[in-house]
Structures are given as C-alpha cells and as structure tokens.
Symmetry: C2
Subunit: 387 residues, 2 copies
Amino acid sequence: MELGSPGVAPGGVSVSAVLPAGGSGERLGGATPKQFCAVQGRPLVSYAVRAMERISWISDVIVVVSPENTETMKTIIEKYGHKKVTVVKGGITRHRSIFNGLKVFAENEFSSHLLQKPEVVIIHDAVRPFVEEDIVAKVVMAAKEHGAAGAIRPLVSTVIASAADGCLDHSLERARYRASEMPQAFLFDTIYEAYQQCTDYDLDYGTECLHLVLKYCKTNAKLVEGTADLWKVTYKRDLYAADSIIKDNLSQQVCVITNVKETLAQVGFLLPESLKSQIKVEAISQSLSKNDSHLQNIISGQCYNFVCVNVHLDISENNSFSIGMEDLTMIKKFARETKKKNILVYGLLIQCKDPLLLQETVNSAAALIMALIKDRNPELIGQLLVA
Amino acid sequence: MELGSPGVAPGGVSVSAVLPAGGSGERLGGATPKQFCAVQGRPLVSYAVRAMERISWISDVIVVVSPENTETMKTIIEKYGHKKVTVVKGGITRHRSIFNGLKVFAENEFSSHLLQKPEVVIIHDAVRPFVEEDIVAKVVMAAKEHGAAGAIRPLVSTVIASAADGCLDHSLERARYRASEMPQAFLFDTIYEAYQQCTDYDLDYGTECLHLVLKYCKTNAKLVEGTADLWKVTYKRDLYAADSIIKDNLSQQVCVITNVKETLAQVGFLLPESLKSQIKVEAISQSLSKNDSHLQNIISGQCYNFVCVNVHLDISENNSFSIGMEDLTMIKKFARETKKKNILVYGLLIQCKDPLLLQETVNSAAALIMALIKDRNPELIGQLLVA
C-alpha cells in the first residue's frame, strides 16, 4: 500500500471529500444536533473537518448542512480557521444531502463557482471526529481500483431479524457480517451516476452509498477493515467518550515554570523526574512574568498545552504562610489570558519543612499536576494548590 | 405491564440471574479484562452485580469467571458487600460459561450447595453496568409468557455481508434488523434443555442464547425494545463513557458547610441560591468539626456524596491573607478520611472586599463548586480554592 506523499494523493488521483452534517441528532436526546455539540469547547463537526482538511492531498471539503444551520457552520469555519471548506445546503435525508454535496462538482447552477471535479470523492461523517490519514488513504486507493470502497468494523452485538409478531425470526452469524462505517470513497463518476439513476424511495429511505453503487452501477465496493476510532458519535455517552479522548490528546505535555531558589534546586530536579514517567515535561526555571520572552514564545507557539506554575514560599515560624494578593491576582489574570488559547495555567505551592519528606511532597505535587492536566477543568485555572 | 412489587417478581415467578464475566477484553486493548477495569474506583463487574442485586425479586446472582479470576472476584464481592452472589468457574467460551452458571441450579456436583432452581433465569453481562429494574422486569415477564425474551436496540450502522474476495456482497435493510443486547431471560427449563442438547460447535462458536432456544426448543424469543443505557462496554472509549455517566450520577447533590459570621450571612444565602439551579444543595451553617454530630450523621449516612467547605477569612490591610497551617492540615486530613467512603471534600475561600461585587464572587464560587463536583477528581480533595 503506497500512501500519498504530502500534497500527492495515493495513486496520484485528485481527491475531495463530502461531509453530510444535516442530521438532527434525535438519538442524542438534546436540542442541539450532535455535529454542533461542543467537545472541549469545539463543535464536533470542526474536528471532522480538521481531520479531512489536514490531509494535504484532499482538495476540497464540502460540508452539507440543513438550511437553518448554514450560518452556524459558516461561523464555525471562520472561528476555527478552516480553509478548504465549501458549505452546501442539504436535503431532507442523508442521501439527498450527499447528492447535493456532489452536485457542487458537477452542476454549474448549484454553486457560485464550480469546484474542480475530483477523480475520487470521499464520503465521511460530521460526527466521526477521529479519522486518520492512513485509513482514508487505504479507502481512496481501494476506490480507485474497485470503483467504490468503505471502512468496516466487526459487529459488537449479534444482529437479529424480528418477525411481524415482535418475536425472533432468526439471528445472523456474527462472523459473516460487518458494520459499515465511514469513510467511504468512490470514483466520482460512479457515485454520481448512482445518485442520478436512483429512485425517490432510495433517496428518502436508504442510507448506504455502497448499496447504491452496487444496485445502479454493478460496482461491488471493496471493504477495508477500519480502526476502532472510526465510530460514530450517536448517543450522549459517545460525546462523553469523545470528550475524554480529546482531553487525553491534549494532555500529553506539561510545561513547569518554577521560581526555584538556590536552596530548593532539588525540587526543580525532582519534580520533572517524578512527572516524566507519565508525561512529557518541559521545565523552565524562571518566574512567571509578562515580559519574559521565552515564556511568551512558548505560549504563542502553542508548544505546550499546559503551564503549571510552581511557587515556593518559606513557611514562617508561626506555622502559617502568607501569600501576597498580588501574586494570586497575577496568576489568575495570566490564566484567564492563556485560556483563550486553550492553554490552562494553574498555580502550585510546594511546601516542605522537613528535607527528608521532600521526595514525598514532590510526588504529591506531581500527582496534583497530573490530575489537573488530565481533567482540563477550565474553572480551576489560576487557582493555587498546595502539595 | 405489571412490574414486580418489592420482593415479588413480575408475574410472581422466582427469578435468578447469571452474569458471564469470563471475557478476556481483547478489544479493549489492555491487560486487565474489561469487567475488572475500575470505573470511578470500582470494577465494572461490581456495578453490573449491584444492578442485579438491588432488584429485590432476584434471588441469586451467579457470576461466572475464568478460573484465574476467581479470587479477584471473591475479593470484589467482599469489598463492595455483595450479598446474593455465587462465583462459578467459567468455560473457555461464553456459551460454556453460561452453561456452567446454569448448572449451579441443576446439578449437585457442581456446587457445594445446590441453589434453588428459579422459574425464570436472567442472562446479563458483567460489562453492562447500567441496566434498570424496569427493562429487567419487562424481559422477565416476556420470558414467562414466551419461554424466552431479550432486549434489542436499533442498529447504529448498516450491516453488510462481504463476499470471499473482500468486496460487498449485500447490505441489510437497516429497519428490518436489530442489535441483540442484554438482559435476556428464559424459562429455566427451556434454556437448560437447549444447552444440554446443543453441539460442541454451538458451545465453541455461538454467542446468542436466543438462537439456541430457537434451534433446540423451537422457542421464538420475544424481543423487547431496550433503553440506550444497555450498551456493552467494549472499547476503551466505552470505559470513558461509563466513567462520565457514573460521575454524573454521583454529582447530583452537594452539601455546603460554612463558618458564616454574622456579617457575612448574605453568603450563606446567596451561594446556595446560585447553586440550586444546577444541583441539589444542603447548606449547613457551621464549622467543620470532628465532633459535630450533624455533620457526622450526614457523612455516615452517605446522604451527600460531596461536602464543600466554605471558609471565610478577613483580608488584612496589607493586601495579603494568612491561613493557619492547622486549618489546611485539618481540611486535608478530614478529606482523606471521607474519601474512603467516596465522599470528596474541598475547601473554598470566598474573599470579597467590595460588597457590590459579592454576588459576582458568589457566582464564581458556585462555578468552582460545580466544576469540582462534576470532575470528582480525588487528587484535589482537601485543597483550598479561592473564589
């Protein structure tokens, strides 16, 4: 399998993608269609668009939305800086929406400017945020060869047919069947012909593009074993799962900024060591300062999604400590600033009177840092925690 | 549909349950079989057992585990105080494990004491933690009438059959098929007969109990439309989803303990008001004290899963505040104590110099409380946060 080099599609074909995003999300049980539900502050559809867009050999990404969501979609495209996207108004069913999306490449009257017709068109879903380039390339290659291809997955549950009386008629042998997932890909002319020839019944009640090309173009799609992350966000629990997966992806790095004094240099060494088994650490021994260019570079470059501030304070003899309000206010203000870039900043105070307990205290600081990073709770930014 | 009264099964039948828990969890991609994975600190199988156990009209719950996990399962039963459970050693396939579970009711040599054979036996799954009494009762009622019954769900993806060359053979019309889920229920004699008559091939390669009773007892199972929460934890993303759902369930109540002084009584009123739109609040104006009987009653009774401590401190004139180390240490110690009961305690400092900003500060305190409660991060207990 030869994958596409940057900018060159697998097999050298021209490729574009259509993302139907017109669903109402009834199964989710909320008012917002699931493709517009925010996951870690960003609508699900934006993740799916990004997944397509960052594949360099995909030229255009057509997002098909219901007419009432056109403006919402355009706002999302602007806000998240999507570049390759054309928004198209959908029909009342999934098939009609996909057909509308395809027309942008074939019919002049449908778009202000006719987009370059691709040799192969990918059909994906707005509610499958995690598709990787590898599987997309495999499906595109297979479509070039066979005319159509689609990702499949093993069935999770046995599939059964019910009789008219609501009783079991028969159950399918699980090993013989597969769940049809996305992405799928087609020679553009093949899928477009299938849509042109199919009946209104197909357009209104069908859902499976692979079925249309089989029925109308006698094209047997190649089935490509997909990865588990291709699953479709359908229920509320799937939103929870997507949220956790995205959090995990954002939680791979931490930047620790310390104002380590000479006498406590040990902490500057021990803390990163304790963290390194769990996460990639960049420790920088300097104070939190607006004017620090190193710090500003890191944040503007978005090298690190997290910054933890490690504040050491001497514990005074009367067994209490004092924190200047200015320090607290500065951390909070800084945290509010960086939050706009999805960088979460927390304060951490390591206090340890007994040098023998230093390692233990540092471990507990590391546990706190990991907890903050894994949760990514934006309400807790700017807080000063104590280890 | 007449549901069972407490202690009385629907339709007056005697009912027990078998939970196969012998799977290896290959699809999860971890070393621990998924039924033993901890979700919010508790193994998944314990949630499924609890779901069955708390249905008063279920007499026995047979958990079938692979021989190497017998001790693990017994430890779980003891730790979480499960009462109705008998652990049985499983076979090498799902069907063989279920058969072993059923034998406990029918064959003397299989168990140290023969359990009372139920009229209806429920088959559920160790990895479906959220089953409700309502659907279990419906399935049991239907099994009593039809001999067998099972929960079903609409298909999420289209199901397709592949030909020998890896290409699409045909796709199934989605509306005609259903996913077979759990729980299922059977007249005990019917399912037991099916297992006694079925072939080694069935036992080794089959998975569907409804299929066995159809094939060997000519019993067409009644199919009962189930709820979305019946889904099976299969992939890592399902563990994430289960975790979020359990967190949600634990996050319905908060107990706020304040040491409100006369001058700040407003806060004791405003804070619960601000929280009440989001959560059930019990506010108690008193300090955190080991000897406080009211507080102890709440905690020992587990009325509240969360306790937030609201600490007010005067802000001294030099623009800093001081916190006694003893206060901090006491909160941390108290939090570590209650954590053992899954009660998470956090400290919260509301500081407000300007009375005009009081409502705003209180709102930000409420947001912090909600964030802590929703995340249920055990690493953050005993911390003092500042609103």
